[in-house]
Each structure stands twice: as C-alpha cells, then as structure tokens.
C-alpha cells in the first residue's frame, strides 16, 4: 500500500472513530518499497487539497523519510516558473506519495493501540468479533 493510502484510512474499531488519535495510523517495523513512476504535476496538484498535511508530516518523520515543509506548498511551488520543470518540492512529494509503499509491518492506532498487520502490501483491518 502506498503512503498516500494512509491518508484515507483510520482505526477500524467503532469506539475509535470519534477520536482524533485514531488517524493517522502509525507504521511499525515497516519495510518500504520504491517503485519509480512518471512524475505528473497535475496529479500532485489535484491530490494536495485532499491531504491531511499534519498527518503526512507525522508519517514521514515516523518512517524516517525526508521531512516535508511546515506548510503545504502552493500549486505554483511545484514547477519552476521559468522552465516549467518540476521543482524539488514536486519531486519530493511525488516520491513520497506515488512511489513509496509499505510492503510489510504493522499499523498501530494511537487511540486503542491495536496493531493491524501489513503483509505483501495488504493491510488487514479485520477484527475479532469481541473487538468490533
């Protein structure tokens, strides 16, 4: 699963839904994989407004990836104004969001501490019935 996927997921327990601590989930012993893809400035521009920037910053720190800027970049900061070439910010975001994925490890909820296993890139949110 991509790092970007974590922007849309939270703890599966009903009792955690209303707690801000149930998002983002915290990767544990994550083994990461990089798959190169073509840079697409428009994609990054259109996905930016959907990101929870604070959560993305937390994730990069926890995964030991290059830190993100304090504030989300403006769309203009993604391309060099003169050449139209991708800026470093765009390259970093592309790598983080589109190219980096979690192959295995676990995702921990900050509210209930439950850990969800990730195997072969697939996170398992199925809960034993007493925990639902």
């Amino acid at each position: 699963m991509k790092i970007l996927t974590l922007n849309f997921l939270c703890c599966a327990r009903k009792t955690c839904k209303s707690s801000p601590a149930s998002f983002p989930l915290h990767p544990k012993e994550a083994s990461l994989e990089q798959i190169e893809t073509d840079i697409n400035a428009l994609f990054i521009k259109n996905i930016l407004p959907r990101l929870d920037w604070e959560a993305m910053k937390t994730l990069t720190i926890e995964l030991g990836l290059p830190a993100l800027p304090t504030e989300p970049p403006s769309p203009e900061a993604l391309e060099d104004p003169d050449s139209g070439e991708p800026s470093q910010t765009l390259k970093d975001l592309h790598q983080l969001l589109m190219e980096t994925s979690i192959e295995s490890g676990a995702l921990r909820c900050g509210n209930c501490d439950h850990e969800y296993a990730v195997k072969e890139g697939i996170a398992n949110f199925l809960l034993p019935s007493h925990m639902v």
Partner: protein, 250 residues
Amino acid sequence: MLPTPSTSHASFDNIYEPAEDSYLLLDTLSSKAESTFLTQRFHPTGPSPLILEVGVGSGVVLAFAAANAKVIFGHSDVAVLGVDVNPFAAKTAVQTIAIALKDLKVKPITLGAVLADLTSSLRPGEVDVLIFNPPYVPTEPLSATSSIPSEAMLDSHATFERDSKLLELSYAGGVNGMETTNRLLEQLPDVLSERGVAYVLLCAQNKPEDVKASIRQWPGSWKAETVGSSGKTASWEKLCVLRIWRDVVP
C-alpha cells in the same frame, strides 16, 4: 464498448467470478447518463475523486473504472482503493488493476486494497464514489461471526472448506439478501464526502423499491434512483443498480 479488464490470472476457486451483476455495473458506470452525471459532479479541475469499491472480488469493476476514469469521471487523476474480507480477492484485485492499467500513458492513482469489513477502515467523509456489488442472495440469517472469515478458517489446511466458505461470503446475503447491504447503507452518510455518490447493486428479492423509499427518508435530502438494470429475463435474479447521492450545495 469499453474493453472488459482481463481476469485470466485469477483463480475462481475462492474468488467470485465476474458474472452478470459485475457486467451490469460496468455497463451502468460507462453509460452516457452516468458518465455525464459524474463528469459534471467532479469538475475536471477539482480535487482528485477517491473511488472505493467494497467487496472488490476479482477487481474487474474497479479495474474498469480506473482504466476508463477519464471517460467515466472526467478525471484521469482518480485514486482507486479496493476492500474485501477475502484475502485472495484483495491480492488478485491489485493484480487485475495493474494489468488493466499497464498500457495506459497516464495512469490513475492506485491505492491498493485492504482487508476489512465494509468501510470500517475508511476515514469519514472521504469517499467520492463508492461501488458495491454485495452478497445479495437471500439465505439463512448470517451469524455475526460467519459473515467475516476468521484467522483459524484462513489458516485451515482444509482448502476445500475454506474456499467454499469464501465463495459463500461472496453471495450469501442473509434475510432478504439484505443483511450486509443494510449495514453498508447505514455507513453511507458517514463515509461519503459531500459530493459522494454510491452505486449499489440489488436483485429483485432485495425489494429495490422499498430500499429506495427508505433511503429517501434519511435526514439530509438523500436521493436514490435506479440507473441500470438487466431486465431482459424475468428470472428471479433480475438485477438493478441504485445510485445514492445528495445534491451538492454550490
């Protein structure tokens, strides 16, 4: 006609094989009426729509939506995510999507697949298009524990029993065939974004008219219409697709 994604790599011993219901969803999503509705709803310059398929199975429907995103949603930059309770399905769906996108120059954003009960692992208010071809066949009531595979069952060495249980999960809908669908419908107001739209497939025995009437009673002016049906045969499994949404405040 847009091409149907290949599922020739999939093993249908324990994954739902694409059938009339799957194809009805493909036809409905790519119909002129639905692609016009969706393209208007998701302005081409607006944020990327998040497409979620619950019960993704082989991935044939989500792969189709992803590969034809530009035509269906007016966006090539959709993000697609699949959910299933069947681990073989989750893995296969990821492959089906990758194969369907292989030759595309501009590929949508693939978020992968997760194992989860319905939308339980999704952050509230994020999903823009939710697709669900549920287990809809009327059966004995589903017991809470049997509608989701257990660890013990998946690890079981009795492959045949495990596989038949997984296939049962793909069709057995409990009372009126609506037990799982009703749980999903209850989640829609929380999981859909304001511009969110759900496509849910039903069979005649699910009483689609009653389902629509009850959705229209939800607080917040929800709408429900039949936007696709396979009415050619009068068989007991006559199928339809409901579109469920609310009007966007401009």
